[in-house]
């Protein structure tokens, strides 16, 4: 346990600059999208207000919600969150592994020579990436709150709905916010498994590469491409929502278990010191 915590400490220190860059980029772009949408929304609201007071408008139509601004931006915000989620997991996974080999200190040799299971090294990195994903969820909420503040400043006083996140969260769809943000406890667990699939799949690639050089790189890459293809294949199947849930869970559990087992085997048997 102590070894795991210590290793995580090292991983977190390595990952923090990457997280700061990614989340800063996300916040800047998200704020820009909200700023632009708020002006478009303001023009629309001012046109509709003509002759009426804000109170009358709110009584008649309900307060303006963040969801209206997101809809006005053609859902670009949800695309941004999805893109960041992908970049975060993939870049973090590659970065955390290859930095061990390509850094000046070549710390991987030190890590492999530590007592105890080598799998702890993988587990520490996996938990760090999952932790980074949790922070990403928090950043989404912060970005939505920033959007709400921007809208409150740009739009007339008293026109915003009082519940800042209510409309976005309660009316989120699987293809919108739900793509990158968990919409239920079950969805939360499912997304942890998806992150595990991505991280362990990339780990298989890295270990294959480090074990067998060219052939390892090719086979590891083929494994990752196969995983991605199966995932895309399952997503493009014509399934209704309840059937899709079964397939999604089947993939998440199956692919994460398989990738972790292969990673375990490669880590203990093949990867040389």
């Amino acid at each position: 346990m102590l070894k795991l915590l210590t290793l995580m400490e090292i991983e977190i220190k390595k990952l923090l600059p990457v997280l700061i860059i990614i989340f800063s980029f996300m916040t800047v772009v998200s704020s820009a999208v909200f700023y632009r949408a708020s002006h478009t929304l303001n023009m629309k609201v001012m046109k509709n207000l003509a002759g009426n007071s804000v109170a009358e408008y709110v009584a008649e139509t309900g307060g303006v919600t963040i969801l209206q601004a997101i809809n006005l931006s053609y859902n670009n915000l949800f695309l941004l969150f999805g893109f960041i989620a992908f970049v975060l997991v993939v870049i973090s996974s590659f970065y955390l592994w290859y930095k061990e080999w390509f850094g000046q200190s070549k710390r991987i040799y030190l890590l492999f020579s530590l007592r105890g299971s080598r799998f702890t090294i993988l587990l520490a990195k996996l938990l760090t990436v999952i932790g980074a994903t949790f922070i990403f969820y928090g950043m989404i909420l912060i970005n939505l709150l920033i959007g709400w503040v921007i809208l409150t400043f740009v739009l007339p006083d008293g026109i915003m709905a009082t519940d800042p996140l209510g409309s976005v969260i309660s009316q989120a769809t699987k293809g919108g916010l739900g793509f990158s943000f968990p919409l239920s406890f079950i969805d939360f667990i499912y997304k942890i498994f998806l992150v595990t699939v991505a991280f362990s799949g990339i780990s298989v690639w890295v270990f294959s590469d480090r074990s067998k050089k060219i052939w390892g790189f090719i086979l590891g890459g083929a494994y990752c491409i196969a995983l991605a293809s199966i995932y895309i294949g399952t997503q493009s199947m014509f399934l209704f929502f309840d059937e899709r849930a079964l397939i999604d869970w089947g993939f998440a559990l199956g692919a994460s278990a398989l990738s972790l087992i292969i990673s375990y085997a490669l880590l203990n048997k093949t990867v040389s010191i």
Binding site: G62, G131, F134, S170, G175
Partner: protein
């Protein structure tokens, strides 16, 4: 080793999870359930017969069907697939909609049959023209699916128009028209799932009154209608394979011989049992289409009274749709540019051609009505 990174990281994780937890606890914004329709004229009790409904999302995974009634609204929980826009009523017969979520459906006493022609073949020469027909046998509850490739239609022939399945004298006919105006009629057996070519004819040859005309294909439950140049209508009986012209008696001021016959630009045509309904638009000058009804047997042509709210719709570009329910013709105008978004409803009696009801309904943003990604609310319609 300094622990500040790990501690701050873990605190951030913890706070994020707590935030996600509380955000997910946020139930739907207190939904406004004021779905009362405001009557502009007529007897509001007609609303009970129409069954106008819409789906609302009242929680992250909770949906309800709201059905308008004369006294308010009936709200019933449902399931909803937001990828394909199908609610519990369609998902009950989900195999009819698999791979064809927007298929047309013909319902008879014994069968529900969905059919959808694969129009992608028009743009991809690697495909053969094909159609998917799914049959739900109401007696056995079984659903069978036919994916039929039309080997008798060359790939270079294109099919733009809707295809139709009609039932005439206990036989099902599947009808399509090619871009060379060949009319192809297939008999369809819902038990054996066979589709056989029954009739093929060039409309340009058989309707010789208009040798260089373009044609348009429509259907009612039993007949196929062919429209040619303006308002020339021909009725095709798939059972007898006869094509008969329908005589339309225009009133004095809109004589077909009149040079101004195209002052009325008939945009669309619909056919219902013994009525033909045109949507006429005086090109760009009328805020809404003026509807005209022709009695198919007598040929009498009459213009429907415009709803009193038509003036309000000038320059608003409403989303317009219509339907026929029994003896009623229902017009729906959804005005997204109004504040709040408003839906107007007009109901006509198809026997007397009188406007018997007009109403309006405010579609507020806080009612949970589904949006389509561009912020437009899906209004109430007849399912």
């Amino acid at each position: 080793m300094k622990l500040k990174y790990g501690i701050s990281f873990r605190i951030s994780c913890f706070l994020s999870i707590i935030s996600v937890f509380f955000a997910n606890l946020t139930q739907a914004v207190e939904l406004n359930q004021d779905f009362n329709i405001e009557t502009l004229s007529g007897d509001v009790r007609i609303i009970d017969e129409l069954g106008l409904s819409a789906v609302i999302q009242n929680g992250r995974n909770d949906y309800s069907i709201v059905t308008l009634t004369a006294t308010g609204a009936k709200i019933e929980p449902t399931i909803y697939d937001d990828d394909y826009g199908l609610d519990g009523r369609q998902l009950e017969h989900r195999e009819l909609y698999r791979h064809a979520p927007w298929a047309s459906v013909l319902e008879t006493e014994d069968y529900m049959i969905s059919y959808e022609f694969d129009h992608t073949y028009n743009w991809n020469s690697r495909f053969d023209p094909s159609t998917r027909i799914a049959v739900l046998n109401k007696n056995s509850g079984d659903t069978q699916v036919l994916n039929h490739t039309f080997t008798d239609i060359p790939r270079y022939i294109e099919i733009y128009w809707d295809t139709y399945l009609v039932k005439k004298e206990e036989t099902f006919y599947y009808v399509l028209m090619t871009n060379t105006f060949d009319l192809l009629v297939y008999t369809f057996n819902p038990e054996t799932l066979t589709l056989n070519l029954d009739y093929r004819n060039s409309l340009s040859d058989s309707i010789s009154a208009h040798p260089n005309s373009w044609f348009d294909l429509h259907a009612s439950e039993e007949f196929i209608y062919i429209r040619s140049e303006g308002i020339e209508i021909y009725e095709f009986n798939p059972a007898t394979q006869s094509i008969e012209p329908i005589t339309i008696k225009l009133s004095e001021d809109k004589s077909i011989a009149d040079d101004n016959m195209f002052a009325i630009n008939f945009g669309s045509t619909w056919f219902y049992e013994d009525q033909i309904i045109f949507e006429g638009q005086d090109q760009y000058y009328e805020p809404t289409g003026i509807y005209h009804i022709v009695n198919r047997d007598s040929g009498n042509f009459s213009e429907l009274e415009q709803p009193s709210f038509a003036k309000l719709l000038e320059d608003e570009w409403p989303i317009e749709n219509h339907t026929v329910l029994g003896n009623h013709f229902v017009l729906n105008y959804q005005v997204t540019s109004m504040t709040p978004e408003t839906q107007f409803i007009a109901v006509y009696d198809l026997e007397t051609h009188e406007l018997i009801y007009e109403g309006s309904l405010k579609l507020r943003k806080d009612q949970g009505l589904l949006t389509n990604g561009w912020g437009t609310i899906n209004g109430f319609s007849v399912k």
